[in-house]
C-alpha cells in the first residue's frame, strides 16, 4: 500500500510533464493528476482499513474472551454451590449410614439373627451406597467437564488405584455372591503419569456397571507396552447387544432409552468415563458377546499413555 501511495504521489508530481507528453494537450495533465490522487486515496484507504479492521476483530475476540471468562466463573460458581449443597446433603446421609452400620455391628456382636426383611433393608442401604457415591462424583465431574481445565499430571501407581476400587466393591459384590479378581502383568507394575483421580473415576464407573450386570465373576487386568498402559475390566454377564454398544458412551443413554422404559441409571457414568479417557490422551472401547452364546461376557478396555497426554 505504501508503494501504491508513493506511486500516486510521484504521478501527481510528474503529471504536468507526463500529461503534456502523453496527450500533447494541457487537459491531459488533469486526468493524470486525478488518477494519481485516486491511487493515493485508494492506498490511504486500504492502509486505514488494514489498520483498524484487525483492531475491530480483536475487540470482538476480547468480547468472546469475556464470555469464556464468564463461563469459567459460572462453572466455578456452580462447582462451589454444588460442594455446599452436597456437604449439607451429606449430613443426613452420613447419619443414616452411620445408624445402619451401628445397628449391624450391634446385632452381630450380640449374635442375634435378624429377620430377613430387616437384614435385607440393611444390606440394601449398604449396597446402594457405592452407587450413590459414584453418582455424586459423576455429577461433579460433569460440571468440571463443562468448564474444562488443564489436565493434572502426576506419578500414579495404577495397581493401588485398582486395589482401592476393589476394596470398595468387594463387600457389595460379595453380598450378591459375585467376586472381583485383579492382577497386573508385570506383577511389579511401576508408575504411570496421569491424573490418578481421573483413572480411579473411570474404573469406578466401569466396575460399578460390572458388579450390577455380572453373573458371578468380575476381573480386572492391568498390562502395559512401551508407550501405553491398559486396564481391561471383564464380567461374565449376559453381554450387550451390538446395536446397544454403538450408543453406550452417549450422554444420558441407557438400554431403557432404546426400549422407551423408565431408566434405571443416569446414563452418565460411561459417557464421563469416555470423556475422561479422551481428555487424558487415551481411549475406552467395549466388546461383548451376548447370551445364549456360552462365551457371553462384556469387556471394557481403557488405554492411556504412560507418559501422560501429548
Amino acid at each position: 500500500m505504501l508503494v501504491f501511495a508513493f506511486a500516486g504521489i510521484m504521478g501527481l508530481i510528474i503529471s504536468p510533464f507526463v500529461g503534456e507528453t502523453l496527450t500533447d494537450y494541457l487537459w491531459g495533465v488533469e486526468p493524470t493528476a486525478y488518477l494519481s490522487v485516486g491511487v493515493i486515496l485508494v492506498a490511504l484507504l486500504t492502509m486505514a482499513l488494514s489498520y483498524y479492521i484487525p483492531r475491530l476483530l480483536g475487540r470482538s475476540e476480547s468480547l468472546v474472551g469475556v464470555d469464556q471468562r464468564t463461563a469459567e466463573r459460572w462453572g466455578l460458581l456452580t462447582q462451589q454451590y454444588f460442594e455446599l449443597f452436597h456437604h449439607d446433603l451429606g449430613r443426613p446421609l452420613r447419619r443414616i449410614l452411620g445408624k445402619e452400620r451401628e445397628l449391624r455391628l450391634t446385632f452381630r456382636a450380640a449374635e442375634t439373627k435378624l429377620h430377613p426383611e430387616i437384614q435385607g433393608l440393611l444390606d440394601e442401604i449398604e449396597a446402594q451406597t457405592p452407587s450413590f457415591r459414584l453418582m455424586v462424583s459423576n455429577i461433579q465431574l460433569l460440571v468440571q467437564l463443562e468448564a474444562p481445565t488443564v489436565p493434572t499430571i502426576q506419578p500414579v501407581e495404577p495397581s493401588e488405584l485398582i486395589r482401592r476400587i476393589v476394596d470398595r466393591y468387594t463387600p457389595v459384590a460379595g453380598d450378591a455372591y459375585k467376586e472381583i479378581t485383579w492382577w497386573s502383568e508385570p506383577a511389579e507394575f511401576g508408575l504411570v503419569y496421569c491424573d490418578g483421580a481421573a483413572i480411579e473415576h473411570i474404573l469406578t464407573n466401569l466396575v460399578d456397571n460390572m458388579v450390577r450386570y455380572a453373573t458371578e465373576h468380575i476381573e480386572i487386568q492391568l498390562t502395559r507396552n512401551l508407550t501405553d498402559f491398559f486396564i481391561r475390566v471383564w464380567d461374565d454377564g449376559p453381554g450387550i447387544a451390538p446395536h446397544y454398544t454403538e450408543h453406550i458412551f452417549d450422554r444420558g443413554w441407557t438400554p431403557e432409552v432404546a426400549r422407551i422404559e423408565e431408566k434405571t441409571s443416569s446414563g452418565l457414568g460411561l459417557f464421563i468415563a469416555n470423556m475422561l479417557a479422551i481428555k487424558y490422551g487415551g481411549d475406552l472401547t467395549v466388546e461383548s458377546i451376548v447370551e445364549p452364546d456360552p462365551e457371553h461376557h462384556t469387556a471394557f478396555l481403557l488405554s492411556l499413555p504412560i507418559k501422560g497426554p501429548m
Binding site: R94, G98, L105, R133, L141, T152, T170, E179, E185, A187
Partner: protein, 257 residues
C-alpha cells in the same frame, strides 16, 4: 503390640465414625480420639492437640477429617494439619476423610503437593468401615501376628502355624508346614492387604526347585485344601478357598462358614 490409630474428627461421636471405630476395635487395633476443649477456634484446638498427641504417643496411623468445625476457617483445617504432619513426620500414615463432593479436584491438588510415595491416602466418609480398615492396613504396611482368615481359621506368622478355633479351642493343622505354609502365607497376606488380588505363579513357584515347579505348586495347593477341608469339616472343590484364575495365578477366597 497392636497398632494405635489416632482419630481426628469433629464428628467423632457420630454413628458413622463410631462404626469405623468399632471396626478398628474388631481389627485388634487401639484407637485414640482427639477431643479438644471447646474454645475460640475449634480448628486451632484440633491442630494443637493432634500435633501434641503425635509427639507424645507416636500413633501408628491417623484418621484425619478435612473439615474440623462449622466455621469457615475450619472448613479445610485438616489440610493444614496434614501439611504439618507431612513436614514433621513424613513416614506417619494418614488416611484423610473427605466429603465426597470435595473429592477429585481437591484430592488431586493436595496429592500434587506431596511426594508420590508419601503414606497419605484419601477416602470419603461414606466408605464402609471395611474399606477404611483395608486402606489403613496398606498404609501402615505391617501384618498382625495372627491373621484371621474367617471366623474360625487363623494363620500365625510368628509360630508358622495354621489353626482352627472352635468352641474356644485351637486345633493346630499340622500338615500345613514348610513350603505349604509359605505358599499359604503368601496367599493369606496378599488377601489380607488386598482382597481380590491375584498372587502370580512366579511368586509361588520360587518355593520349589526342579523343573516342574508349576506341577509341584498345583500338588501343594491341593494338599493344603485337603488338610483345611478336613480341619473345617467341609469339602473344598476347585472353586473353593484357593482358586486358579485364568492360569495367571491363585487367589484366596475365605470359605463362608
Amino acid at each position: 503390640m497392636p497398632n494405635t490409630i489416632l482419630i481426628v474428627d469433629d464428628e467423632s461421636e457420630s454413628p458413622i465414625v463410631n462404626a469405623v471405630k468399632r471396626r478398628l476395635d474388631k481389627e485388634g487395633w487401639l484407637t485414640q480420639i482427639i477431643k479438644p476443649e471447646p474454645s475460640g477456634s475449634i480448628g486451632d484446638e484440633f491442630e494443637a492437640l493432634t500435633l501434641y498427641t503425635i509427639e507424645a504417643d507416636s500413633p501408628d496411623g491417623i484418621l484425619l477429617d478435612i473439615r474440623l468445625g462449622e466455621h469457615k476457617e475450619d472448613q479445610f483445617k485438616g489440610l493444614d494439619i496434614l501439611q504439618k504432619i507431612v513436614n514433621n513426620y513424613p513416614r506417619l500414615p494418614v488416611l484423610m476423610f473427605t466429603q465426597y463432593a470435595q473429592g477429585p479436584d481437591r484430592e488431586t491438588a493436595v496429592r500434587g503437593s506431596l511426594q508420590w510415595d508419601a503414606p497419605v491416602d484419601f477416602i470419603d466418609k461414606l466408605a464402609s468401615p471395611e474399606e477404611v480398615v483395608l486402606r489403613l492396613r496398606r498404609l501402615i504396611g505391617s501384618t498382625p501376628e495372627k491373621i484371621p482368615i474367617n471366623d474360625c481359621l487363623y494363620l500365625d506368622t510368628n509360630t508358622k502355624t495354621v489353626f482352627v478355633r472352635t468352641n474356644e479351642q485351637s486345633v493346630l493343622i499340622e500338615d500345613i508346614n514348610g513350603a505349604k505354609f509359605d505358599i499359604f502365607k503368601e496367599l493369606v497376606t496378599t488377601w489380607y492387604r488386598s482382597p481380590g488380588e491375584l498372587v502370580p505363579f512366579s511368586r509361588l513357584e520360587r518355593y520349589f526347585e526342579g523343573e516342574d515347579s508349576r506341577g509341584s505348586l498345583r500338588v501343594r495347593i491341593r494338599e493344603i485344601k485337603i488338610s483345611l477341608g478336613k480341619a473345617l469339616g467341609i469339602s473344598l472343590g476347585a472353586s473353593d478357598l484357593i482358586i486358579n484364575v485364568r492360569d495367571q495365578g491363585y487367589r484366596l477366597v475365605p470359605p463362608k462358614m
